[in-house]
Subunit: 235 residues, 2 copies
C-alpha cells in the first residue's frame, strides 16, 4: 500500500521501476516484448494513443491499462486518476517547437508555407506524435484542461499566425479581418483532422502520406496567400 497519500508521485526523471510484474515477465522466456520503458511511461504512451482515438469520455482506463500491459490500479498509483493521467499525457512541446523552428525563417511567405506544412504534418502523421492529435481532440470536447491548453499553446499559436498574416497583408488590417484570416488558415488545416472520418468515407482510396500532405500544404498556402492579397488590396 502506498504510504500516507502517495498520489502525485515525486519521481526523479529516468527512475526505473523495481521489478517486472508477473504478467509481464516474458523476459524469463527471453521473449522481447514490444513494450518499452517503465510502467509510468507505458501508461503515458498508451493514454496518448487511446485518448486521441476515443476522446476523454470514450476512453476507459481499462483499455489504456490493457494497451500498456499494466495493472488496472497503476493509473491511480502513478497518477491521481483518469483525469490527472489525461493532463499528464498532454504535451505542448511539438507545437511550440514548430513555432520556434518556423520563426527564424526569412520571408513571410516562406514562414507561412513552412508553418502550414509542419502543422499539417503534426495533425495528420499517423505514425508520429499523437500528442498533438490528443490536444486537437480536446478542442472539440472541452471538458478538462482546455483553459490551460488555450493559454499555453493555442493563444500563442494564434498570435504567431496573426503576425504571419500581418507580415503579408500589412499592419493596417482591422482586428476583425485579421482574426478571420487567422481562422481561415486554421480552419483549412484543422478540417483534415476533425473531418478525417468523413474524408475517409468520401474518398476511400485517398491516403494522407507524406506526398499528399505536401500537396495539401502547397494548396492551402497558395489558396491562403491569394486570399490574404485580396484582403490587403480591398481593406
Amino acid at each position: 500500500m502506498p504510504p500516507g497519500k502517495p498520489k502525485l508521485q515525486q519521481r526523479a526523471a529516468g527512475e526505473t521501476g523495481r521489478f517486472m510484474p508477473s504478467a509481464n515477465n516474458l523476459n524469463i522466456l527471453n521473449i522481447q516484448s514490444d513494450i518499452s520503458g517503465n510502467t509510468r511511461d507505458r501508461l503515458l504512451a498508451a493514454a496518448r494513443k487511446v485518448f486521441s482515438e476515443h476522446g476523454f469520455q470514450g476512453a476507459t482506463v481499462r483499455e489504456i491499462c490493457r494497451h500498456a500491459e499494466v495493472n488496472l490500479a497503476a493509473v491511480n498509483y502513478h497518477f491521481s486518476g483518469k483525469e490527472a493521467l489525461f493532463v499528464a499525457a498532454l504535451s505542448f512541446e511539438p507545437l511550440n517547437a514548430l513555432r520556434n523552428s518556423v520563426a527564424h525563417e526569412s520571408g513571410a511567405k516562406v514562414r507561412l508555407q513552412r508553418f502550414i506544412e509542419g502543422f499539417l504534418t503534426q495533425l495528420m502523421n499517423e505514425n508520429g506524435t499523437p500528442q498533438c492529435q490528443l490536444m486537437m481532440r480536446e478542442l472539440i470536447e472541452p471538458t478538462l484542461a482546455l483553459d490551460n491548453i488555450v493559454q499555453e499553446v493555442i493563444a500563442p499559436l494564434h498570435e504567431f499566425v496573426s503576425q504571419l498574416v500581418r507580415d503579408v497583408v500589412g499592419a493596417k488590417v482591422t482586428p476583425g479581418e485579421l482574426r478571420r484570416c487567422v481562422f481561415s488558415i486554421f480552419g483549412q488545416c484543422l478540417f483534415y483532422r476533425h473531418s478525417h472520418a468523413v474524408i475517409r468515407r468520401l474518398h476511400p482510396n485517398l491516403h494522407y502520406d507524406k506526398k499528399e500532405i505536401s500537396a495539401t500544404a502547397h494548396h492551402i498556402t497558395e489558396f491562403t496567400l491569394a486570399g490574404l492579397r485580396q484582403i490587403a488590396e480591398n481593406p
Copy 2:
C-alpha cells in the same frame, strides 16, 4: 406492458398520446407547461438538444428524459433505445433545403456567397435548428450513423460545392485540386463550429450574432474567391 415486441412503433404521423402522466399534470392547476407535443415529439426535441451539446457518448437518456419531462422508460418504449433515438433525432432537411434554395440562384459567385452564409447560419445559429449541429457533432465522433449521413447529406453537399467551384475555376481543374478547394471552403466554415469552445476563450467578448455571421460569411466568400482565382490562373 407493450404487446409482443412493441419496439419500432408503427405510429401514424400526428397521433397524440392518450393521457397526461401524473408528473406532468400541471394543467389541472391551469399551469401552462412550456413543453409542447406528445411524449415522442418531446423526446425527439430533447434528444436533439442534449445530443448536440454533449455528443452521443456524453449524453445520457436520463438527462434527455428529464429535459423532455418524460419517464425514463419512454425512450425504450417509443424507440428501441438510445441509439435508435439518436438516429431518429437526425434530420437531413435543413441542409438539403439550403442546397435547393441556393441551387437556382443565378451566377456562380452569388451561389457561393449564399451557400456560405446559409451554411454558417445553420452552423452557428444558437436559437435555430440543433439538427444540423447534432449532425456536425457526429462527424467528429464517428460511431453510429455516419455512413448513412455521409451518403445522404455530406456527399451530395460536397458534390454541390464541387460544382460551385467548377463554375468559378473552370472545368479543367484536376480532381485533386478540386477536392482540396472544396475542403478549404468547408474547413473555413466548420472551424467556427468545431472550435467554438476555443474561440470563446480566445475572444470572450465576441458573439456570433446575425451581424457577425454575415461579416464572417463575407470574409470567407472573398477569401475563397481569391483563392479559387489563384487556382484557376495557375493550373
